[in-house]
Amino acid sequence: MLTKELVAASTEPLILSLLTKGESYGYALIQKVKQLSEDKIGWTDGMLYPVLHRMECEGWIESRWGQAENGRKRKYYSIKKDGKKALKDQREQWIAVSVVFKRLWKEQYV
């Protein structure tokens, strides 16, 4: 399992990355992250919503109420232009960190 700090730092880019593939809703986002991380990233489900609301306040994502297949209303989120910009910045930062680790560990273990 990832540490709390790392999970916290990766939340926004994860949400933004998932939303670049199309609009989605809270439950689906959580399931997708669980699936992609093979259960290594575990969010307390309810806590995702304050983050989504904050990102909406930031102007990175927008939401709309729609109807699910089962007839229930559901809140869908989609990424906005500013969100794409924010993702681009965050992506560069994560890649930079990843490159450093790759180089470091390559030197150390190969």
């Binding site: 700090e5 916290a8 730092a9 969010w43 307390t44 995702l48 919503y49 609301h53 910045d89």
Partner: protein, 213 residues
């Protein structure tokens, strides 16, 4: 016999009494809870087991309330601070400029009566400008962008108008004309920089209550 609808109603009541405001967050959370319960039932859980597990996974009411309150408080505070910062910056720039511009017409004259408004005006413009830059960097909110855009236009217009006017006034003071041009460029560049920073800066990350340790 377990009644799912009654249990959800009771969960909703507990959330409400803990301070999770309806309708948006609570409706959204309820939808999430129902999705999770359905998924767990499909995986072979009983209704009660599915409900209990889903409620645990959503998290406790007090924790959720604290997270939503943080967002509301932060957003409200940021908006207030940024509004104050921008208004102060605009006031400082305009008031400072207003002290400076009349002096420019008597640029060649000497004496404290001529120079003090120029100095005080310049200090006001610089302090207000840097205050705005600092405030915007520290308290970024999306809504501030429009205010900054208005600020950029207002500040630009404030200095550009006398500049244009100087074209039509005979015997316009050359030094004043140049000074206005420099102020216009600096002022618009400054607010443009603020706007640029405001767009580029990202907020510190917030955790969605990580389960992992």
């Amino acid at each position: 016999m377990f009644n799912l609808e009654a249990a959800i109603l009771e969960w909703r009541r507990q959330m409400l009494s803990a301070g999770i405001k309806t309708p948006v967050p609570l409706d959204e959370l309820e939808n999430h809870l129902r999705d999770d319960v359905e998924q767990r039932i499909r995986s072979g859980f009983s209704e009660q087991q599915a409900f209990d597990a889903a409620v645990r996974q959503v998290g406790c009411a007090n924790g959720l309330k604290a997270e939503f309150q943080k967002i509301r408080a932060t957003a409200g505070r940021n908006q207030m601070i940024q509004t104050i910062v921008i208004l102060t910056a605009l006031f400082g720039t305009v008031f400072g400029g207003a002290m400076m511009l009349p002096v420019l017409g008597r640029w060649h004259q000497a004496g404290i009566l001529i120079w003090w408004p120029l100095v005080v005006g310049a200090v006001l413009v610089v302090v207000a400008g840097w205050g705005a830059l600092y405030g915007i960097r520290r308290h970024r909110v999306a809504q501030g962008k429009n205010l900054i855009s208005i600020g950029a236009i207002a500040a630009g217009a404030f200095y550009v108008v006398p500049l244009i006017q100087s074209f039509f006034v005979q015997k316009a003071d050359l030094a004043g004309w140049i000074f206005c041009a420099v102020l216009a460029v600096v002022s618009v560049s400054f607010y443009g920089t603020c706007l640029h920073f405001n767009r580029r800066l990202s907020s510190p990350p917030a955790a969605p209550g990580a389960n992992s340790s």
